[in-house]
Subunit: 404 residues, 2 copies
């Protein structure tokens, strides 16, 4: 029998408890050992809840119990999660976490400590909730040079953009609805400003390319400036607007960014709607692949954590290879990125054409029925060059990148 301790009995923690107790027989079979939850750590009490019989308030009870081989950290935030995770690994216990803050900030160090102590630091649920993506990157896509990893990694913003598109709602209405449904936090900053997606793409990029991609180095824009009018143009052009967290490797250099982008109808990410997430991977041999599912939610996330518990139990005393060096990856400056850009300008097509073609190579114009406005799309150009030209464009209203 392998004993497990869960740190935190919040949404994900109670989900992990539910998954492991509900699917216990199946999990024992898959793990090759009986898996038993010996402790749940939480500062609160839960009178009447079945968790009561295993509830503890002091982390040291868990740390000092040598029968606990797997620690599930689902508290969120860097501290005390980091201290607890590190002490657990040093004490010879594997750690499974859903905590993207912890992984984005301390991942490579904890991976190294796990390796040194012949245990495992697993974090499948930290990106894309229930979607299997971390283990496929580590164990399946091992023969490929990954040249792109891009995703819709935040369900809240995808729900908002989907509703703005399908129902014609404005941003505020869609956000309010997302909050009512529990998809968005009372303070939605981390989601709508792109911070959540940024941490996730930092983790995925680090695993894809092998060195640490610092989330603080990734150019990040949220969706708060996306308007009804932008969406009308997108529809007219056959695109969808999505918050894309993306990184690409070109000539050995890594280009990473988070921003709302126009996505072509024939790109697999275009049809990912509502709170669903998807991660698109391009390999030099594999070509294109995509992983789709519930990016958040109690049980999907808990299912991914419990899958990590099974893997940790299968590998007691053995370290599973993970390639994520502590060395920092140099990211390419945003100014060097190349995209096609979509631009909205005041004026009818003839006026706009005259102004635009002095500054840009234009591939086409769009009239989306917005009063006294014309949209156009540029050829592929560097961000720096685009910004310089855009600053000179009289009557410019808005701009959006087009995903290549």
């Amino acid at each position: 029998m392998v004993n497990v301790a869960i740190l935190g009995y919040g949404t994900v923690g109670s989900g992990v408890y539910e998954v492991i107790t509900t699917n216990n027989k199946l999990i024992n079979k898959k793990a090759g050992e009986d898996v038993s939850i010996k402790y749940v750590l939480d500062l609160r009490d839960f009178p009447g809840d079945p968790v009561e019989k295993v509830l503890v308030h002091d982390f040291n009870v868990i740390l000092e119990d040598p029968s606990v081989k797997v620690v599930v950290e689902v508290m969120g935030g860097v501290e005390p999660a980091y201290t607890f995770a590190k002490k657990s690994l040093l004490a010879g216990k594997s750690v499974c976490t859903s905590n993207k803050e912890l992984v984005a900030n301390k991942g490579p160090e904890l991976i190294r400590i796990a390796k040194e102590n012949k245990v495992n630091f697993l974090f499948e649920a930290s990106c894309g909730g229930g979607i299997p993506i971390i283990r496929p990157l580590n164990s399946s896509l091992t023969a490929d040079d990954i040249i792109e990893i891009s995703g819709i990694l935040n369900g809240t913003t995808n729900y908002i953009l989907t509703k703005m598109t399908d129902e014609g709602w404005d941003f505020d209405t869609a956000l309010k609805k997302a909050q009512e449904l529990g998809y968005a936090e009372r303070n939605p900053e981390a989601d709508v400003l792109g911070y959540d997606a940024c941490r996730k793409i930092a983790i995925l990029s680090s695993l894809a390319y092998g060195k640490t991609v610092g989330y603080e180095d990734i150019h990040t824009e949220g969706i708060t400036s996306v308007t009804y009018e932008d969406i009308e143009y997108a529809k007219k052009m056959g695109y969808a607007i999505k918050l894309i967290a993306s990184s690409e490797k070109k000539d050995g250099k890594i280009y990473a960014m988070v921003a709302p982008m126009l996505v072509r109808r024939d790109h697999p990410l275009c049809s990912i709607n509502g709170v669903f997430n998807a991660i698109f991977v391009r390999g030099n041999m594999l070509g294109d692949a995509m992983f789709y599912g519930s990016g958040a939610g109690k049980l999907p996330t808990a299912s991914a954590v419990a899958g990590d518990v099974v893997d940790a139990v299968r590998h007691v005393g053995k370290n599973i290879m993970v390639f994520w060096d502590e060395e920092k990856e140099d990211l390419q400056d945003i100014g060097d990125f190349k995209h096609q850009f979509f631009v909205r300008v005041k004026g009818d097509k003839d006026t706009v054409k005259e102004k635009a073609e002095k500054l840009f190579s234009v591939t086409g114009y769009t009239d989306a029925g917005i009063d006294n406005e014309t949209g156009f799309v540029t050829e592929i150009m560097k961000e720096d060059d685009f910004e310089k030209a855009y600053a000179q464009l009289e009557g410019a209203v808005a701009k959006l990148r087009i995903k290549d």
Copy 2:
């Protein structure tokens, strides 16, 4: 260093050779050992090809070389692939294969022999080409009770149906084009009659549920009877017609079938077009997930095989857990399946309504502009009951199941 032998230098075999030589540095790093191709077995000679220096014509050279730890079987067909794979496993060599015939026919036996000999029988490329699905089923979705696994598992038929839908081509034109482009064989039976998809869903279902799902027990229909008119109705109703290979677990019983079905626009499988494949999985905790990518093609398939080689090298001397018992799974009889059905009948809406409502509970009628014809959709009903009623329906033209 770990030596590898490749059995067969056809499309996939030469692809595996290319992937392992092109990405050699990266593969060595991921495998934790240098991976070297010591032999390629083929009956033919390849004068001037770089493979010449490792080419052998006699399998025993490979079998009797104890330095060969991994054998890649990419010959196709059951024999001599089965004999070679079995002998390799018994000699303490892991086997990686892309051969769905071999896996569907001999999978559980070879998995057992691998386990008994502390080696591995790996077959990621046998279903869905480059798409990671076998390893995620074995190693990621381990905390879930899988209640459905369904997919678009054949690129040829998906290409044909996509072209019939987007370009208005008839079946024969689309098949001819698929043959010209090399997507379909000269003899397209295995694809268009659903046999290929059937073998793949048998493999995936066996892994999902743990016992052997025999492909010969799965009710299988191809796409040869799908017409331009069917597709017009599908468009009108907001559906797409896809060849769906599907299995579901309900009340402990397994329902598996391969058939063209109407798929709702909001189902993730609906937007999978062209030669791409996708596998949809529903777990009791995870909810819905989908895996998408190139279902065939030299390099994507070879990438999956080479990923298996990396895994085999990482696990020399250790068996990786796979749950697929030799015991046969009892499949539910086709007559007990429940679906909504779409039916086309001669006559205008009033005439058809009168006839149809004597025999079926109808949920709606569709006029797709086909002369003297009306379509209707039934409520969910058993196949047996549907067939009885359909046989009595005067003027019936065609029927299709609707994917739930």
